[in-house]
Symmetry: C2
Subunit: 207 residues, 2 copies
Amino acid sequence: MDKINYSSKLFNNAIEEFSKLPGIGKRTAARLVINLLKQDKENIIHFGNTLITLARDIKYCKICHNISDTDTCNICENNTRDFSTICIVESIKDVIAIENTQQYKGVYHVLGGILSPIDGIGPSDLNIKSLEERVNTGIVKEIILALSSTMEGDTTNFYIHKKLKKFDLKISTIARGIAFGDELEYADEITLGRSIVNRQPFSGKDI
Amino acid sequence: MDKINYSSKLFNNAIEEFSKLPGIGKRTAARLVINLLKQDKENIIHFGNTLITLARDIKYCKICHNISDTDTCNICENNTRDFSTICIVESIKDVIAIENTQQYKGVYHVLGGILSPIDGIGPSDLNIKSLEERVNTGIVKEIILALSSTMEGDTTNFYIHKKLKKFDLKISTIARGIAFGDELEYADEITLGRSIVNRQPFSGKDI
């Protein structure tokens, strides 16, 4: 598809932009732009202006580094949240995923990545200093580590633990185990093994 | 995902725009916007401006109704094309698909849809009058009907055939049959049946 000479450069430019997005190839991008062209001119202009406004006006919360329209995000400004519990995540998409569960009432701290010597990402590239400052205020009682269970995630967990152990904090990680609805025979050995080691008392209330 | 309260309205607006596109749900849209936010501000603004320019400046070729940056598209303006052969297609995406094959050297005529009484699409909604005018110039010697092999496509083929039969034209349709690489046992009966009826002499050069 690389050498296609479309009859319109404007059309081709739009395809180029869409195909920069993850999981969207030239063919899908062409389908999206063709569909876009079926819409009213005003709708397409509105789409364009929405992206421009997003780029110009989006902010990152000065407390937790989540995306925000204002200096402080609406999670950090929400007085019904529990400010004594901070959930540490890698990126804003993890905030969205946890918010979707509607199970968490604490606040977040978005690291902006995880430690990865191979990719040249060290502690100074992540929002770790601001995390220490938050903990130093004395309001925080619990830290929940919710990073990927990869080697980089584990390394980051250890690093944060080392940095925060001088404070009087409960530090936990999210539970790993067999997903609800999954069958044991298809689980990988590490997950299954750990889920047996970390077995939990049966309350009879799970279902 | 409908009730998600993202921490940013700007972010939410961008997700709304992406999720209007076909095959993109709220979750995928969120992933796309998060990825977009990782790019430089200038890149996102460029994406937005590309869409606005597309909406404002895109034209439809006055000859074949293909998308174009100018009044006449670059296929209709290309003197190496064979103007005596017109391939009739439903939409610009069919032009792209046929151009991708690099097998066709004639020109196109984009109908902008197919006849569909159920959807209220009649002959006056399609670019049929301009097709007759093109044929009436006397330059055209062959018409290739490349519409979908649906009832609507067949109806449209018959209608166009009726409109053009007064002219001295060769009218053909694209070949239907078993796709290259497909196995017979998985082909539907109509396709397989017709591909036997319309069997072609074996030249020994096919492979």
